[in-house]
């Protein structure tokens, strides 16, 4: 089939949103319905294409990059337009395509001030190009471009539609609007990390010259892994990549941009940030850092595990100190991404599978939590949990959904959140040969304590927000419960939460083969 050869379908999945953004841009500002539909149809077409990929994908050979293309691009520096999906990137690609559709549906009549739906839709579609592109890129420069491309739309989403309450930054003795502070902080942190990541990519490029030809091609660099990780500068190269990816994940102590960005962002911005953007970092570890520099990955694994566990505990404890519901969810992301990173650091099949299913589950669940938090803020005009009590009596459907998704987030068995945490801990119990077992088992125990704390803060949040009697200030107020757009955006996520929870093979069926191959390649290259 034409569509499936030569990377056509993946190119369409990546660049159709860009075309959609242009179309939306060309439709006059007055015709709101027209450009809303243009944006939705674009996202739906991309969604359908990604479903086509899901059905045609050869799961028996999920370690192979499929639907790929390798076209010449910047010849003079040996960078090519090399794309493809394997079992690891496929779930991420589908997640990104689906979440974008749901975000557009949710936005349909939830525009935050200063409105301007046209600009917001353009940004969402640009963001989708960046996200999908990162997941299909198999060339370091291409990956870098897409990785950076997501920054701008998110910067604008936070900066224009973000939280306008004033905020004092003690360090600079400066009072500014939260959105302004959060947007530039988000950008500078990520840019700082990715600048060093780029230096490492260039280092890999020049080093690959000794082992054949200079290349930015990820599969080729993986083949050269034994040579590359034996280099004297390999430790520095890994450090550069670590900085780039760790800031994005974000790992403790690089996480400080995240609570600010999440709290300040408009609802849809928070959803996309939590559901997809954070995954670009952990995906980078799995796709690039681990297989290309396996030796250094082994050396860094204990450090990563320790930072991950600190992230879990710190994130959970920080949640218990929050009064702002959205900020609480933001800190919960630090904890959940800690489990993802713990999984990756074990360098085992169980651990890396756990990381990917954890990423998908976190995308679905935390995305959903931000949706609910946004909708509640939309109605109550506050995120202060002390004022929100009794939500379940005010809005029974909203209350139920919040309760359900909080249960999923705390890792209740049978729902999606369970597998990532459980398997990550399992992986830490028996990490890859050569890693300090004692340390990882200690990490496992601490992580397990983290799951209890996670349950603790989520139940605490539910108690404060959902239960009890409604605050007196709301007496006489009528809040309309979940509306049809919200329902349409949320039901698929709720179904996915159950489906992945009951039948994790939905994700693992795709990842397992690829992860097996990845881990065995890493171990071979170590020997």
């Amino acid at each position: 089939m034409e569509l499936l050869d030569n990377g056509t379908v993946l190119s369409l999945i990546t660049f159709l949103p860009l075309v959609g953004a242009l179309v939306v841009g060309l439709i006059p500002r007055a015709q709101e319905e027209a450009y809303k539909w243009a944006a939705l149809i674009t996202a739906l077409v991309v969604g359908v294409l990604s479903v086509v990929v899901v059905f045609v994908f050869d799961y028996g050979d999920s370690a192979r990059f499929q639907f790929g293309a390798d076209l010449s691009w910047i010849e003079s520096i040996g960078s090519s337009f090399h794309i493809g999906v394997d079992g690891i990137s496929l779930p991420m690609l589908v997640l990104s395509a689906v979440i974008t559709i749901l975000a557009i549906i949710y936005s349909w009549d939830h525009w935050e001030e200063p409105r301007n739906p046209k600009a917001f839709l353009i940004l969402m579609l640009l963001l989708e190009t960046g996200m999908n592109g990162t997941f299909v890129a198999l060339d370091l420069i291409l990956f870098f471009i897409f990785f950076e491309l997501v920054l701008l739309p998110m910067y604008f989403m936070i900066g224009i539609w973000g939280d306008k309450t004033p905020r004092t930054i003690a360090m600079f003795n400066l009072t500014t609007e939260t959105r302004l502070y959060a947007s530039i902080k988000f950008f500078l942190f990520t840019l700082f990390g990715s600048a060093f990541m780029l230096l490492s990519f260039l280092g890999l490029y020049f080093s690959s010259g000794d082992a054949g030809a200079r290349t930015f091609d990820i599969p080729k660099l993986i083949e050269m892994a034994p040579h590359l990780s034996a280099l004297p500068i390999a430790g520095w190269l890994f450090a550069g990549m670590f900085l780039g990816f760790a800031v994005k994940v974000p790992m403790w102590p690089f996480h400080t941009w995240l609570p600010d960005a999440h709290t300040a962002a408009p609802t849809v911005g928070s959803v996309l940030l939590a559901a997809i953007l954070l995954k670009l970092g952990s995906y980078g570890f799995i796709r690039i850092a681990l297989p290309i520099l396996p030796e250094q990955a082994m050396q860094w694994a204990p450090t990563i595990a320790i930072l991950a566990v600190i992230g879990i505990i710190y994130g959970s404890l920080a949640c218990l100190a929050q009064t702002d519901m959205k900020r609480l969810i933001a800190f919960s992301s630090v904890g959940h991404m800690g489990f993802v990173m713990l999984g990756i650091s074990t360098m085992t099949e169980a651990g890396i599978n756990a990381a990917i299913i954890g990423m998908v589950a976190h995308g679905v669940i935390t995305g959903m939590l931000f949706f609910v938090a946004g909708s509640m803020h939309h109605r109550y005009h506050t995120r202060d949990m002390a004022r929100l009590g009794g939500n379940a009596t005010m809005m029974p459907k909203m209350g139920f959904i919040l309760g359900f998704i909080a249960m999923a987030s705390l890792g209740l068995p049978g729902l999606a959140g369970f597998w990532g945490e459980f398997m990550a801990l399992l992986g830490a119990f028996r990490p890859a040969a050569g890693l300090p077992v004692g340390l990882f088992q200690a990490a496992m125990v601490t992580g397990a304590v983290g799951t209890i704390l996670t349950a603790g803060y989520l139940l605490w949040m539910l108690q404060k927000v959902n239960l009890g009697e409604p605050n007196e200030e709301w007496s006489g107020h009528e809040f309309h419960d979940v509306d049809k757009f919200e329902m349409a955006a949320w039901v698929p996520l709720l179904l996915a939460t159950v489906a992945i929870g009951v039948y994790p093979k939905l994700v693992l069926g795709s990842t397992n083969g690829a992860v097996k191959e990845l881990v065995s390649t890493i171990l071979e290259n170590l020997a």
């Binding site: 950076e148 500078l188 260039l202």
Partner: protein, 496 residues
């Protein structure tokens, strides 16, 4: 018998001379109301000048040499001539409405601008000390006058005076260094100097000569610590002239530096390598840190252009330490590529400053607040150029940064890697102040009491904006366009 002249190779220079004569004549003949013809003539003349350059570049006939090797038309010369003419073209487009609104001396303005462009075109071909110096002074001389164009404005007078005094000082230093070189080697020809200086690289007189020449050029490119004239001059001069100075006269300085370091004394890299390493690190860091504190958009761009010059100097430091010819050629190409991309994005940024200032009526960044709400078009252009300067993909600036980093990492030594790290940190700092302009235009509300001007749209300024934007977006998405510059010029280093 006189020297044989290759008229095809000299065609660009001849076309420029003809144009500036025509402009001068037209200025005398035409009545006041029709002086705008001088601008039209300049545009036409620059277009005609571009034709032989394109022809020679595409005809692929190899290098043409004149005057015993002093005047060379090779790919490097042609690429830079093309760049200078293109930059001049865009500056003329930016100038039309700006100069017209002053209502006087239009003819002289274009005459002086064309003379300066002629100087840079000559420089690109100069392969001996005398021609290089003449070219460089022909670039600077007219600018002394142009910087003081707004006669009634004290700042413009200050701009002109500072630029003149420091320009003369730097010329003196440069000439002093050159006289040492001539005395030591007995020749003014670069190839001759390279051969004659083979054994000299540790003699004190030669070291001094090289350093003096470097310092002379460092003034022209406003590298730290020879940059103090730049912000005041940039702020006081008419904005199109500032745009020209920040691009073409800087690029001319770099051309001189490139030829001298890579062609005339590559053997003395033990001298200029470390000097330029320090200069690059200082220029980036000081330029960026000072830019952080600016409140005026033109001063911000002035310090940004200092910082950008620091990025352009990074590859020199690599060439200073690397013995790998491919890495040296790559470094040479990286600087040229960076200059080419910088030319377009910086001109674009200045075009936005001119276009935007008509609405904001101020160069104060705070007064630019909320521009996007009443002039989304200008704000969008601003977004594109400022983010390109910051090096955000997929705008052309990212590729400039990439080749610069690539040259530094490819240098393969600890020192170049350290410089790359300094450059990386600087790239992050730079984003902050570029983003401040973007933030003002897009995120901030319109300041209280602001009455937006309702100026007529200048077609030529719009054209300048569109040309630069097409390049910045096109070369960003399809980098082979910019890679072409680097790859083509690298041959003059690779071939020796």
């Amino acid at each position: 018998m006189g020297p044989t002249l290759d008229y095809l190779a000299l065609a660009p220079e001849l076309a420029l001379v003809a144009t500036l004569m025509a402009v001068l004549t037209a200025d005398i003949v035409l009545p006041h109301a029709q002086k705008y013809w001088t601008a039209v003539l300049s545009v036409l003349g620059l277009t005609v000048t571009a034709l032989p350059i394109l022809f020679l570049l595409l005809s692929d006939e190899g290098t043409r040499t004149m005057l015993d090797g002093s005047y060379v038309v090779d790919d490097f010369a042609l690429i830079l001539k093309g760049l200078f003419v293109a930059a001049g073209y865009i500056v003329v487009l930016m100038s039309v409405s700006y100069i017209e609104s002053d209502r006087y001396y239009q003819g002289e303005y274009y005459f002086l601008l064309l003379a300066s462009i002629l100087g840079s075109v000559v420089m690109a071909s100069a392969r001996d000390l005398i021609l290089l110096f003449v070219g460089l002074e022909l670039v600077s001389g007219p600018l002394f006058l142009l910087a003081g164009w707004r006669k009634g404005d004290v700042k413009s007078n200050e701009a002109s005076l500072k630029f003149y005094l420091l320009g003369v000082l730097s010329a003196a230093i440069l000439l002093y260094g050159m006289s040492f070189l001539y005395g030591l080697t007995g020749t003014v020809d670069f190839n001759g100097i390279r051969e004659a200086s083979a054994g000299l690289s540790h003699t004190p007189a030669f070291i001094m000569a090289v350093l003096f020449v470097m310092v002379g050029f460092a003034f022209k490119i406003s590298a730290v610590p020879f940059h103090f004239w730049a912000p005041d001059t940039y702020e006081g001069a008419p904005t199109p002239v500032t745009a020209y100075m920040s691009v073409s006269s800087k690029a001319a300085g770099f051309v001189g530096m490139l030829i001298v370091t890579y062609v005339a004394f590559p053997g003395a890299s033990n001298i200029w390598g470390p000097a330029l390493w320090i200069m690059a690190a200082l220029t980036m860091t000081v330029g960026n840190l000072t830019a952080l504190r600016q409140t005026n958009i033109v001063r911000l761009l002035a310090y940004s252009s200092i910082a950008q010059a620091g990025f352009m100097l990074v590859p020199f430091a690599v060439a200073g330490v690397s013995s790998d010819p491919a890495a040296v050629a790559g470094a040479f190409g990286a600087t040229v590529t960076y200059i080419a991309i910088y030319t377009f994005m910086n001109l674009g940024a200045f075009a936005v400053v001119i276009a935007g200032a008509r609405y904001t009526r101020s160069g104060d960044i705070d007064k630019w607040a909320g521009l996007a709400s009443y002039q989304p078009g200008v704000a969008l252009f601003g977004l594109i150029f400022f983010l390109s300067l910051a090096g955000i993909p997929p705008l052309a600036g990212w590729y400039a940064k990439l080749v610069m980093f690539s040259a530094a990492i490819g240098g393969g030594s600890v020192w170049t890697a350290v410089l790359a790290v300094i450059a990386a940190v600087n790239a992050v700092i730079a984003f902050y102040y570029y983003a401040r302009v973007v933030k003002a235009m897009w995120f901030d509300p319109v300041p209280d009491g602001h009455v937006a001007g309702k100026p007529e749209q200048s077609r030529s300024l719009q054209l300048a904006l569109v040309i630069t934007m097409v390049f910045v977006i096109g070369a960003g998405i399809y980098p082979p366009i910019s890679a072409y510059f680097g790859d083509t010029v690298a041959s003059i280093v690779g071939g020796g």
